[in-house]
């Protein structure tokens, strides 16, 4: 992925500030206008997803943490970001189909589906055939689905560190029931929080710190030219 140019990085800072203020005032239209302006200035879809929307979401989390916004405001801000992602998906150019099926899901108990959504969109726009299951997918349901329609790759997301055990157990049970051959990728903040711990290593095929990394790893795992 090309690194954003300095000009683009500057543009992103400005766009993020505008976007965040739109989120905080609950102004959907203003938020979408920021995205449109970004596209108009030639900022890439990728940069808008990561540097503007995802960064703003991190800021919203921090503001909640500091009790500077309420839970209601946080929900509203997140809803706006979901819309912005959908809008960007519309505008983005989709790579030709590569005929690889990817299942994207949040582990059981994980309610934060924004990072998973980002990854799903990135994979989809890269030409993967993405099935997005969203937040809090009960592990038995996930296993049923994997058995019924085996994908070429499973991408699991866990954000909150307390969901790490849920991730562990999900991977364990999937390996038991579905087998060793299904490639599993894992992403999310829970992973970084848990990496310092002495938890036994997950039986997975790769991790990614962000959506572009996830796409690159997925290509690698499935033997696709990047």
């Amino acid at each position: 992925m090309p690194s954003p140019t300095l000009a683009s990085a500057g543009a992103c800072v400005e766009l993020r500030a505008r976007y965040l203020s739109a989120q905080r005032t609950g102004d959907r239209r203003a938020a979408l206008r920021v995205v449109e302006d970004g596209l108009g200035q030639g900022v890439s879809v990728n940069a808008l997803q990561l540097e503007v929307i995802q960064a703003a979401q991190h800021e919203i989390g921090r503001l909640w943490q500091e009790n500077r916004i309420s839970i209601a405001q946080e929900h509203m801000a997140t809803a706006i970001s979901h819309m912005a992602l959908a809008h960007l998906y519309d505008e983005a150019e989709r790579a030709p189909e590569n005929h690889k099926r990817v299942l994207v899901a949040c582990v059981q108990g994980e309610l934060h589906d924004f990072p998973a959504r980002l990854v799903a969109d990135a994979l989809d726009l890269a030409g993967f055939d993405v099935r997005y299951l969203g937040a809090d997918v009960p592990t038995p349901n996930l296993i049923d689905m994997l058995l019924q329609e085996p994908p070429d790759l499973l991408a699991l997301s866990a954000t909150m560190h307390f969901n790490f055990p849920s991730l562990q157990s999900a991977v364990l049970r999937i390996r038991e029931r579905v087998g060793r051959s299904l490639p599993i990728m894992v992403g999310g903040a829970a992973l970084t929080a848990a990496s310092s711990g002495s938890a036994q290593p997950l039986a997975i095929d790769g991790t990614a710190a962000n959506a572009p990394e996830m796409v690159a790893r997925a290509r690698q795992l499935l033997g696709l030219a990047s």
Partner: protein, 679 residues
């Protein structure tokens, strides 16, 4: 407030108050706190925290230690499940913190969660639609590109097609040249061959002195070779004619008996009685009548029989014929060496003879069977073989009893004149050309009345008054010019437009003899139709002249005939009627018996006395009872006598139709029943 009520409020309350130390250990709490949080003094708030909110609890404790905090949202386990509490806090003595909290109703949270889920689903759907839209767009782009490609390849195909057409044209020309060359070469061969045959005959006849036996043998060899070459040349000539479609069909009527009789005579020399092979013609039980080209049927049978005799060493060759489904099936069956089924196709190919000792011994041109099959096709029939080696062969020639072209022409000739169509007399000796005229003119509302020769044309003109005549001047040399001048001189026919069509430019002569149009062949069909239309409207109506001094009677007749294919001419007195009849030449005249100044007899005398009006049928209409002598006299000169009392629309039309039919216009009609005739 009573203690009871106070206790009740306490039990219902979603508020609580407690005091904890800087680390969050509860040092004091009210009853509501114990009830809501299930906490006890000495336990830590950390134990109550919902995972993920630990940092926020720390922040609260840190901030509340130094100053009042309001509306701090914190997720704790309340009533045994995660809930959001809104907390006010302020610092107390000895690093203690006083907390006052309100449990926010959990259904708000639930609602938000549901809404989030719903939104997530909507957005997933949105992506699905967006993706499909993109796919459609890219499919559209691909299709546009494919269309462009197709368009280009279509152009390629078109040019390829044109190239093919060129090639086909070249091939056709080559084939034509080949055919012409064969025909010419064959002709050139024939003359010297005839000389050789003639001279060798003279030598053998010893007219110029005797030959030695050795010389005779040599001359006989020369003669046999020349005969074989002659038959090869003849076959080649016939075949090239049949292939180029130039073979002329000469249909005639003949019977199977007569055909067999002549064949027997011709073929007897090939199977001398001393031979071990018997040639038999089996006469059919009932004689069969043909109307096709006898010469060609005979040629095919001769060929088959002579082949059969060549390849049969003993036994017999039998020729039979029977009728099956309107077709004659001739069979030539032999007891000869037979043919393997793998050779069935080869033997019908030119020079496609089979290798074998017998075949090598027997001489043939290699053209007999292909020519026979071509001729069979020309007759509208087929030639098939059935055989097995050692079991003899059977060749079956199937031909229609009546040649299709003959049948078609007979149909054309024998059909009645359709009053709704304008008849066009086509004088043309070529059947195919007649069919072409028929094809074009029938669609345009004309009826072709075919005449194959001038005699037919004269005969037909007696019966039919055509709207136009199309005359092919090549027909029988001078006689067609004579026909033209006769048509133009006869008062009965001189007003019929004649279109002269010919291959030689004799326009001056044609015009001098009275031709209305002169065209060189080939005739352009559009031009022909335009011309004919300008002469006679298709669906020409029959002209009916009513001579009656009673305007009411004329009105009545007009009403009777107004929707039929009739053009009504009216005359209110006899003299006008006669003049009108001469000028307009109606197809039929309806004459009132009693006119004011003339009788019907006077009018009839005038009409019958003039060649221009003599042929026009007259129907008498009367309101009077006629006496027997009048009736007798009228009946001799008119078509019908109708009584005005019993006159009806149907009757009038029936009589007019009959009269038209008699005049050669129109077809027989069913009688409309009801009113009486002639009385």
């Amino acid at each position: 407030m009573s203690a009871e009520l106070a206790q009740r409020w306490n039990e219902q309350s979603r508020e609580l108050a407690l005091t904890c130390d800087a680390r969050g250990v509860i040092v004091e709490q009210d009853a509501r706190a114990a009830r809501i949080l299930h906490s006890r003094v000495g336990s830590s708030l950390r134990e109550l925290i919902v995972p993920g909110s630990e940092a926020k609890l720390d922040a609260l404790l840190a901030q509340a230690g130094s100053g009042a905090v309001d509306g701090w949202e914190l997720a704790l386990i309340a009533f045994g499940k995660p809930a959001t509490l809104s907390i006010c806090a302020c610092p107390g003595d000895s690093d203690r913190i006083h907390l006052y909290a309100l449990v926010l109703p959990d259904d708000y949270g639930e609602t938000v969660r549901h809404l989030n889920e719903a939104m997530s689903e909507v957005l997933s759907l949105h992506r699905e639609i967006s993706r499909q839209k993109k796919e459609l767009e890219s499919a559209n782009t691909r299709l546009t590109a494919a269309y462009r490609d197709l368009d280009e390849s279509n152009k390629g195909v078109l040019s390829l097609h044109a190239e093919l057409a060129d090639k086909a044209d070249t091939l056709r020309r080559t084939a034509e040249v080949k055919g012409r060359m064969i025909a010419n070469v064959s002709h050139e061969f024939r003359t010297p061959l005839h000389t050789i045959l003639g001279l060798s005959k003279l030598l053998l006849d010893a007219s110029d002195g005797p030959l030695t036996e050795e010389q005779r043998t040599q001359v006989r060899f020369i003669r046999t070779s020349a005969e074989e070459l002659t038959s090869l040349v003849n076959d080649m000539l016939d075949l090239s004619k049949a292939e180029s479609g130039k073979a002329v069909l000469r249909p005639e009527r003949f019977t199977a008996t007569a055909l067999f009789a002549s064949l027997r005579g011709q073929l007897r020399p090939l199977a001398p009685s001393a031979n071990a092979v018997e040639l038999r013609f089996e006469e059919p039980a009932a004689d069969i009548h043909f109307d096709t080209d006898q010469g060609k049927v005979a040629q095919i049978l001769r060929n088959l029989v002579s082949n059969a005799l060549k390849f049969t060493e003993r036994g017999e060759v039998a020729v039979t014929v029977q009728v099956q489904h309107g077709q004659a099936e001739f069979r030539v069956r032999d007891t000869g060496i037979g043919i393997g089924s793998q050779h069935f196709d080869t033997i019908f190919e030119e020079f496609g003879q089979i290798e074998g000792p017998m075949q090598a011994r027997v001489k043939g041109t290699g053209l007999g069977l292909p020519l026979s099959r071509k001729l069979a096709e020309l007759l509208g029939g087929t030639l098939l073989v059935d055989s097995a080696p050692g079991e003899g062969s059977t060749f079956t020639l199937t031909v229609p009893l009546c040649h299709p072209e003959v049948r078609e022409l007979t149909t054309l000739e024998s059909r009645p004149i359709d009053p709704s169509k304008a008849p066009v007399l086509v004088v043309e000796d070529d059947r195919k050309t007649i069919f072409i005229y028929e094809k074009y003119l029938a669609m345009a509302g004309f009826q072709v009345v075919p005449a194959r020769n001038v005699e037919d044309a004269h005969r037909l003109l007696e019966k039919v008054h055509p709207a136009a005549i199309v005359l092919d001047i090549m027909l029988e040399g001078e006689s067609s010019w004579t026909f033209l001048s006769q048509v133009k001189q006869s008062p009965r026919t001189k007003d019929i437009p004649v279109l002269v069509v010919t291959v030689t430019n004799k326009e001056q002569k044609a015009r001098a003899l009275g031709a209305d149009e002169f065209w060189l062949k080939p005739v352009d069909q559009d031009r022909l139709l335009r011309k004919l239309r300008s002469i006679a409207k298709p669906g020409m109506t029959a002209k009916v002249l009513v001579i009656d001094d009673d305007s009411k009677a004329r009105y009545l007749m007009r009403k009777y005939l107004e929707h039929g294919p009739y053009q009504l001419l009216e005359a209110s007195d006899g003299l006008t009627g006669i003049r009108c009849a001469r000028e307009e030449r109606p197809h039929v005249i309806l004459l009132d018996f009693l006119l004011q100044e003339m009788t019907a007899f006077d009018v009839l005398d005038d009409l019958k006395g003039d060649p221009r009006t003599r042929g026009i049928p007259v129907v008498i209409i009367t309101s009077q009872l006629l006496d027997a002598s009048d009736r007798q006299r009228l009946a001799a000169e008119t078509e019908a006598i109708l009584s005005k009392d019993s006159l009806s629309r149907e009757l009038a039309i029936n009589r007019i139709r009959d009269a038209l039919q008699k005049a050669g216009v129109g077809k027989p009609t069913q009688q409309v029943s009801g009113a009486p005739d002639h009385g």
